[in-house]
Symmetry: C2
């Protein structure tokens, strides 16, 4: 297939929910011509071609990036170092490299290590569009409509590169925010990574109980919602936890400190302190929900 | 209004979601004739009469129970001691007393203290039907369809009394389970009370952060579900936490132990241990969900 006149050639490395949906949105927006998909599973790539998510499948990232204008690395963060190292010698001079990882400081470090000569063209990014689905079949139009995307440009990143990535995400319908990788990782350790660890730990604690079966028998809707994220992908969350380890350890300690205070308030039957704490949390949760519904309704 | 022939006279003390829905279900099932509602809010009782949830409003529990066959105390647990003390001298000899509290050991203790002469007619119970709604207007038909109700009869409870309460809840469409008050409190500390405290503590921790506003800005659907129960009623949960303090402190310590292990696995970057823990939790959560969907369709 020919590249559309004046349209960008996009290489998506890791054709799943994130990378596949990015390709679909940009094709529909007319921002990209040829889309080349790279992955380890030939079956998944074949499915991606079948579904029109990509135009061409390629088993080698090095080969795929030769004619690329923009490369999205949408593999698990754990594989990005290998991918960056593989594509580095083959990237066209003008080519912009971005990613879809949920953590950014570690991706920045990998870019500094493996893409030292291309840092001016590197634009780390995190599209916030979670889902339990995976594989090319999970790719969907509209996944990014009104979703948030955080870009964390490096000091070396050229404005044109940051603008290109920002513009492409906006063309996908997303709202783009810029911050430093460290700021990003702190925020997401708080609102996403910590709760996942807390939910995994909670369910795992029950599994270890003598009366685990009876406990699960009487778990209801509160349990269902509180533990939904404990059904998330173990390897993905292991990678995220390890990738954002420093920020996450700090969050775990902050949480433990709050929990210890709460425990002593309960041990001392300090009704006033408990009420104040619960009211503060409830008010914040209600305020958040109103804004969230307005922003995502 | 006349009592239906051979039908029970029900007194509901605390006409809200739990008590009001119990009355509606039993009227529809034809199990009760006259329903007398008792509460501190005249406006709420008037609304309950208007809605047909109760037949008569009464501001005094002592007066209301004179002709009662069965009394459901559906107030917050924190008010039950006062209610039991108030009705004790006025209960007909045959009258059965039950409650709708989320904790049972403390209700049993209050019954022993205030209803010593009526223990044979006391049947503590916990209908598991949560909701953020409250007041008579929240009462609804079908609230208990296929829901679980735990009864925790005392050693002194006469079989006829336990059978009456069990039968009435079954007439409401509920599945009734019997266990001891201590067993009940342990199970619910694990699957309900602990997660509420964990969710309250988590949101409260964020409120205390310098970048709280930005954190909330980027919180998404995982956060939404994990923290939904942090929007629960502060006084109600303060009462539940204090009422089930011993069991809850034990759960908090067990959770902290799991969290400490998880923290050291993360600090040591023990990928294998983290994966194993997350997989164990995910498998248990998936297994639970399948059973829950089958059971609650």
């Amino acid at each position: 297939m020919q590249a559309g006149e004046g349209k960008l050639t996009l290489v998506v490395i890791g054709v799943g929910l994130i990378g596949g949906s990015f390709a679909l949105a940009l094709k529909r927006a007319g921002k990209v011509g040829r889309v080349i998909g790279v992955g380890r599973s030939a079956a998944n790539l074949a499915r991606a071609v079948e579904l029109g998510v990509i135009d061409e499948a390629c088993s080698s990232a090095a080969d795929a990036v030769h004619g690329a204008d923009i490369v999205l690395v949408a593999t698990p963060v754990g594989q990005m170092g290998r991918v960056f190292a593989e594509i580095a010698p083959h990237l066209p001079a003008h080519c912009v490299v971005t990613d879809g990882g949920s953590t950014k400081s570690d991706v920045v470090a990998l870019m500094r290590q493996h893409l030292a000569a291309q840092l001016a063209h590197c634009v780390p990014a995190h599209p916030i569009a979670g889902s339990d689905l995976s594989g090319a079949a999970a790719a969907q139009y509209g996944l990014y409509d009104n979703r948030r995307v955080v870009v964390t440009p490096l000091p070396q990143t050229l404005p044109f590169a940051a603008n290109l990535v920002t513009g492409l995400w906006q063309a996908c319908g997303a709202r783009v925010y810029a911050m430093t990788a460290a700021e990003h990782d702190g925020v997401f350790a708080t609102v996403s990574h910590l709760p996942h660890l807390l939910a995994f730990a909670y369910v795992d604690m029950i599994v270890g109980k003598r009366d685990a079966e009876r406990c699960f028998d009487f778990a209801a809707t509160g349990f269902r919602d509180f533990t939904r994220i404990a059904g998330s992908h173990p390897e993905m969350w292991r990678d995220i936890a390890l990738a954002n380890r420093e920020a996450l350890l700090a969050e775990l300690d902050a949480y433990r400190a709050t929990l210890d205070t709460l425990r002593s308030e309960l041990a001392n039957a300090d009704a006033a302190a408990l009420t104040e704490r619960f009211e503060r949390a409830r008010a914040a949760r209600h305020g958040w929900q109103q804004k969230f519904i307005r922003g995502n309704g």
